[in-house]
Amino acid sequence: MFPLTMAKVGEKGQIKRISGRDEVKVHLAELGFVVNNEVTIVNRMGDNLIVQVHDSRIAIDSTLAKRIFI
């Protein structure tokens, strides 16, 4: 299990855990970031990532990417 920030471009994985207990976690869930969903790293700029989850493409920054484990 490792955070999304450590994944390579093109890498695919199932979400194992999302840390934290705040409003942002809810928002992540609305966007499809929930345990067991599959994510793909589409692109990255520094530690900011573009990921594919379900059929949507989401841009997230490193602070959030660190909290999502695959």
């Binding site: 989401i58 602070t63 959030l64």
Partner: protein, 698 residues
């Protein structure tokens, strides 16, 4: 009859809304908040209002949009809901659907983008979906206008019959029992909805709906039991249950073809968000946009409007009309010099501004704008701003008013306020007119002046961001950046045009109201002496006008900035109402002697700086006031701009004349150096931290 239109952002909701209502739209704000409210009459059904809800991902209270939408759905209860679902992203979209169905209102699900689905070989079994979700499901293509009328008709039928479907059971096992137990403690409508919200510990729901606050303590043990069982927090448990249900549902109802090739969006994204190419591509796109809308096509159109339309055609026609009607001389002057002169100058900008907005709307509609926010985020975060702050700045380069309003998409309040304060520093179309005048008269039309002003304004935004972030008001981390990037698609003419009109409207309204009034007043003050004798404002006699006395009264304020003459003072004052008027006022006041006689080169430069960083215009100040939603913040923002404009102009003039024009080192220079040091201190000092309670030794 009211039909609410609900759906995710980027699901095609706006396109559907435009298709259903045509031009009969009314835009306003939801009460008390700066979230846009749009409604319109359904085409061919004057008795049916389509209420467009903000694009939302769920009915939880994470964003203002979500709060507004659920308040509306729960309290005002539209007669029916059309839930637009993006068929190409059905799972995520159905997440909202499961929540809407809990409200117990007649609901129709419109699956959008079926044409795209057909192409990619995905089929959706709508009959099965209908059976499972217990409500009517139809397919549409909002972009092509297919199936939209039928969907609207069906929604009307549902509303008339008040046909509420059978709600699907999303939960099971102990969770279901817990929810039902909470339902049992409630009375009234929408029991299921309230029960889930109570389970999620959504405290806002208790406040907003006058529920008995004791309920919270009553349901707490029920929630705790489930949380312990599942070893997760209540909100996540509900979310997971919803997704689990949806995954099962789509497995039964959605059949995807086997081949999943890399989509076009993927290909485009791998280039435009590439870590090396992203910034150069962005720079080229912006350059092309400005080259066309400001330098070439825009200027031709503006020159024609100014020189031909409002320079010859309208004045000549008006003169002819006046002489036929025998209108008094002073009235003729007022109409032609005052009104046509003032309002005409402003309307001359309209083509340029509309062109900028056309480009910006295309960038938005294609999906590239969201990528810009992402690309800029890394850079902006270093200055304490979010990438989302960049879009208001970009739009602000056309006109500050829609720029300020574009800050609405920023969730974090502190970030949003700061963006509102700073986004108008970027030269808008009107300010570029001042730059153009100063650089052509004093700097041989050097293009470097305009370019350096853009960089200077960006530097001021960035340094202001850093300095403000260190104050108590804006301290704290920016909200984390998370944003959906819509799939790329070709811009749609209708959507682009509607957005251009919407944004351009403010500008034209401004021309018709504020600028009209200011032009008339200025004309009067210029054309009459204090004893109310008419003088020709275009002759030397203008120095006997009322305006001159006003100018002399305020001129000392501007003396330290290098232009202590009455003409400069008056034009700064007038420019506060609209920057478009600064250049034209100076030109008129200078008369035949020419602008070069009014300022020294350094004074002219300082005059330009003052106007660039002062508040842009009355319309923008009004917008700041409205968008801040608080008197304190509005005054704070406008004062900041006034003070900063003055300070920067002061420093420029005092140090500039010392360094480049051999002025001696005097008090002015020393104060300027002090101010520079003060600014450096504000930028580099350690930031404010929340005070932490200190341990006291007993």
């Amino acid at each position: 009859m009211i039909i609410g239109l609900a759906g995710n952002p980027n699901s095609g909701k706006t396109t559907l809304f435009n298709d259903l209502t045509g031009s009969s739209q009314y835009t306003g704000n939801w009460p008390g908040v700066t979230v846009e409210k749009k409604d319109g009459k359904l085409k061919g059904h004057p008795d049916v209002t389509i209420q467009d809800l903000p694009g939302i991902y769920s009915l939880s209270p994470y964003t203002l949009e979500e709060v507004v939408s659920r308040q509306y759905l729960v309290h005002e209860q539209p007669d029916a809901i059309i839930n637009i679902v993006d068929g190409t992203n059905i799972e995520r979209n159905l997440y909202l659907t499961t929540q809407l169905l809990e409200l117990g209102l007649p609901t129709l699900i419109a699956i959008n983008m079926v044409d795209v689905l057909e192409k990619t070989g995905v089929t959706i079994d709508t009959k099965k979906l209908e059976k499972e979700l217990g409500c009517k499901v139809m397919t549409i293509s909002a972009l092509k206008g297919k199936g939209t009328k039928e969907a609207a008709k069906e929604a009307i039928r549902l509303a008339k019959a008040h046909e509420v479907g059978k709600r699907p059971e999303i939960f099971s096992g102990d969770l279901l029992k817990a929810i039902q137990e909470i339902e049992g403690k409630l009375d009234g409508d929408m029991k299921r909805w309230f029960a889930i919200k109570l389970f999620e510990r959504d405290n806002k729901i208790i406040q907003d709906n006058n529920l008995n606050p004791d309920l919270k303590t009553v349901v707490e043990p029920i929630i705790n039991k489930i949380e312990d069982e599942e070893d997760d927090d209540a909100e996540s448990i509900i979310t997971s249950a919803r997704y689990e249900y949806i995954t099962n549902l789509t497995r039964q109802c959605v059949v995807a073809s086997k081949k999943q090739t890399k989509s076009l969006s993927d290909k485009i994204d791998s280039i435009v968000t590439n870590r090396y190419l992203a910034l150069p591509i962005f720079a080229i796109i912006i350059f092309i946009m400005y080259y066309i809308s400001v330098t070439t096509v825009g200027t031709w159109m503006t020159d024609w409007t100014n020189d031909v339309l409002f320079g010859e055609i309208v004045p000549n026609a008006l003169t002819a009309l006046c002489s036929t009607l025998g209108v008094a001389d002073w009235m003729q002057h007022l109409l032609i010099d005052g009104v046509v002169g003032g309002v005409g100058t402003v309307l001359g900008f309209v083509p340029q501004i509309l062109l900028i907005f056309v480009f910006l709307s295309i960038l938005e509609d294609t999906g590239y704008m969201a990528r810009i926010a992402f690309i800029m985020d890394r850079l902006f975060r270093k200055f304490g701003l979010s990438g989302k702050s960049f879009i208001p700045i970009l739009i602000g380069s056309g006109c500050g008013v829609p720029g300020i309003m574009a800050a609405r998409t920023i969730e974090d309040e502190a970030d949003r306020r700061m963006t509102i304060m700073l986004c108008t520093f970027i030269p808008c179309a009107a300010k570029t007119e001042i730059i153009a005048m100063i650089s052509s008269v004093f700097f041989h039309g050097s293009a470097w002046i305009a370019t350096s002003m853009y960089f200077l304004s960006l530097a001021v935004i960035v340094l202001s961001g850093i300095a403000l972030k260190k104050t108590r008001f804006f301290a704290g981390e920016s909200a984390p950046f998370v944003m959906e990037l819509p799939a790329y698609h070709l811009p749609q003419a209708k959507t682009v045009l509607m957005r251009v009109l919407e944004r351009g409207k403010h500008f034209i309204v401004k021309a018709g109201t504020i600028i009209f009034a200011v032009s008339v007043i200025t004309w009067f003050l210029m054309s009459y002496t204090p004893t109310l004798q008419y003088i020709d404002p275009e002759s030397a006699a203008v120095s006997k006008s009322i305006l001159r006395y006003i100018g002399e009264f305020i001129a000392p304020i501007f003396a330290p900035l290098g232009f202590g003459n009455w003409e400069g003072g008056v034009s700064v004052l007038i420019a506060l109402s609209a920057k478009e008027l600064a250049a034209s006022t100076v030109v008129v006041l200078a008369g035949k002697a020419g602008v070069a006689t009014l300022f020294t080169t350094m004074g002219a430069f300082s005059y330009m700086i003052l106007n660039l960083f002062n508040p842009p215009c009355i319309a923008a100040m009004g917008t700041i006031w409205r968008e801040m939603g608080s008197r304190f913040w509005a005054i704070f923002a406008i004062s900041y701009q006034l003070v900063l404009g003055y300070v920067l102009s002061f420093i420029t003039y005092q140090l500039g004349s010392f360094l480049f024009y051999g002025a001696s080192l005097g008090i002015g220079q020393i104060v300027a150096i002090g101010l520079v040091l003060g600014i450096i201190y504000m930028v580099v000092r350690p930031g404010y931290r929340e005070p932490v309670g200190e341990l006291v030794n007993a």
